[in-house]
C-alpha cells in the first residue's frame, strides 16, 4: 500500500508540474495574435465598454460617462 500511495502522489506531482509547464507555454489570443482592429470578445476593453456607454475604460469610468450622458436637465 505505501508503494501505491507514493505512486499516486508522484503522479499528482508530475501532473501538476506538467500542467504548470503547459500553462506557461500558453498566451491569451490578444497576445499571440495581436492586430489593429477592435476585439469585442472582452467587454472590458472593447469599443463600447461594459455598460455599452461608449467608454471602454474601467467600469467606474463607464458608469460616470453613462450618468453624464443621461443626466437629467436642470
Amino acid at each position: 500500500m505505501p508503494v501505491i500511495l507514493a505512486s499516486i502522489a508522484l503522479a499528482l506531482v508530475l501532473a501538476v508540474v506538467a500542467g504548470l509547464g503547459l500553462h506557461s507555454m500558453q498566451a491569451p489570443v490578444y497576445q499571440s495574435q495581436p492586430m489593429q482592429s477592435v476585439r469585442v470578445g472582452d467587454p472590458g476593453h472593447n469599443l463600447v465598454g461594459p455598460n455599452w456607454s461608449g467608454n471602454p475604460g474601467r467600469p467606474e469610468n463607464s458608469e460616470r460617462a453613462l450618468n453624464a450622458t443621461f443626466r437629467e436637465p436642470g
Binding site: S7, A15, A18, L22, Q33
Partner: protein, 345 residues
C-alpha cells in the same frame, strides 16, 4: 353664402378622408395574412438560388475572409469536416459505448460461468518476489494517470449526453474545464510510465513457444489444466503489447492535439482525433478486463502488484516455468543463505 361655405367644407372633409384611407389601413388595420405561405406570384424567389450543399460539392471548400491573423478561421466548411462530425457525434459514442458495455457484460457473464479463479492446491505460505518496488511504482503511477485520463476522456464524449442533464450547465462547464486540464496534465506522467513499463517488461513479454498453447486452451479454460507459462503468460503479453502499442498511439496523437497546428493542418488534427479516440476506446475496454482479472477475477493476482509477492502455489499453477526458475532462490532463502528480497528477474 353660408350654403356655399358649408358645401365647400363638406367636400374638403370627404377629400381628406379619401386621401387618408391608405394611411388608416397601414396604421390600424393590417391586412389578414393569407392562410397559404406561398407568395402571391406562385413562384419561390429562392428556389433557383445556390444552396450550401451545392457550393460545398462544387467548390470542395467554403471559405470566407477574416480580419484576424489566424487565416485558418476563414475556412468555414469542407467535406472532411462532415466526415469528422459524423465520426465524433455519431460513430464514436456508439463505438466507445458498445465496446465498454460489451466488455463489462462479457466479464460479468464470465464471472457467472467461471466464478473466481482460485488455486487448485492449498497455499504453501512460501512467498516469491514477483515485482520489485520500481516495477510496482511504475505500474501504479501509470494506472493512476490512465484512470484519470479515461474518465476525463470519456467526459469529452459522454459528458454532454450523460452528465450535463444531471448537474446542469454551470457545474458541467466547470467540471469539463477542470477535466480538460487534468487530461493534458496527467498525460505526461502517463507517457513517462508507459516508456518505463515498456523498458522494464519488454524482455519478459517477448513471444515464446508456450504462448500458442496458452492461447489455444484459453489459459486453461477449455482444457481444465494450467498450460505452462513463463513470467508472463500469453494473455498478459497481449495486455502488455496492447498497452504499449495503443499507449504510443494515444501519446503521439495526444501530443499533436495538445499543440494544435504546430505540425499538421486541420485535416491532420482530425486524423489525430480519429486515432486518439479509437485507440482510447479499445484500450479502455482492455484495461477493464485487466482490472477485473487483477482484482475480482483471480485470487492472488492483486498480491503480485499490490505487495510484490505471490504464493508459491499460485506461481506453480499460473506461471509454472517462471516458478521453476525461482526454485533455487526459494531454496536458498529457506536455507538461510539468500535474501528474501531477491529480484524476480
Amino acid at each position: 353664402m353660408l350654403l356655399r361655405s358649408g358645401a365647400g367644407l363638406l367636400a374638403a372633409l370627404v377629400l381628406f378622408g379619401w386621401l387618408n384611407c391608405p394611411a388608416g389601413a397601414q396604421h390600424g388595420q393590417d391586412p389578414v395574412p393569407s392562410a397559404s405561405s406561398a407568395p402571391p406570384s406562385g413562384a419561390n424567389p429562392t428556389a433557383q438560388a445556390v444552396t450550401e450543399e451545392q457550393l460545398l460539392q462544387e467548390m470542395q471548400k467554403l471559405e470566407g475572409r477574416v480580419s484576424i491573423p489566424d487565416y485558418k478561421a476563414a475556412l468555414l466548411e469542407q467535406p472532411q469536416g462532415r466526415g469528422y462530425q459524423f465520426f465524433h457525434e455519431g460513430l464514436l459514442p456508439w463505438l466507445m459505448g458498445v465496446l465498454i458495455v460489451a466488455m463489462v457484460a462479457g466479464l460479468a457473464l464470465f464471472f457467472l460461468l467461471r466464478g473466481r479463479i482460485v488455486t487448485d492446491a492449498p497455499q504453501t505460505g512460501i512467498k516469491i518476489r514477483r515485482f520489485n518496488v520500481l516495477e510496482r511504482a511504475t505500474h501504479w503511477m501509470t494506472a493512476t494517470c490512465f484512470i484519470v485520463l479515461a474518465l476525463t476522456g470519456l467526459n469529452y464524449v459522454f459528458g454532454k449526453r450523460l452528465l450535463f442533464p444531471l448537474i446542469g450547465p454551470d457545474a458541467f462547464a466547470a467540471f469539463a474545464q477542470w477535466s480538460k486540464l487534468a487530461h493534458t496534465a496527467t498525460a505526461w506522467p502517463f507517457m513517462l510510465g508507459l516508456l518505463l513499463m515498456a523498458a522494464l517488461w519488454v524482455r519478459g513479454n517477448l513471444p515464446d513457444r508456450h504462448d500458442w498453447r496458452w492461447l489455444r486452451e484459453l489459459g486453461g479454460f477449455t482444457s481444465g489444466t494450467h498450460p505452462p507459462a513463463g513470467r508472463f503468460n500469453a494473455g498478459q503479453k497481449l495486455i502488455f503489447w496492447s498497452v504499449v502499442i495503443f499507449g504510443l498511439v494515444l501519446s503521439a496523437t495526444g501530443i499533436i492535439m495538445m499543440f494544435p497546428f504546430w505540425t499538421l493542418d486541420i485535416n491532420g488534427m482530425q486524423l489525430a482525433q480519429y486515432g486518439h479516440a479509437s485507440a482510447a476506446s479499445v484500450l479502455i475496454a482492455i484495461i477493464i478486463a485487466h482490472i477485473y482479472i487483477g482484482t475480482l477475477g483471480m485470487a492472488g493476482a492483486y498480491d503480485a502488484m499490490g505487495k510484490g509477492e505471490v504464493d508459491l502455489t499460485w506461481a506453480r499453477e499460473h506461471h509454472s516455468l517462471w516458478a521453476e526458475e525461482q526454485q533455487p532462490r526459494v531454496r536458498a532463502r529457506d536455507d538461510g543463505a539468500g535474501t528474501a528480497g531477491a529480484p524476480a528477474e
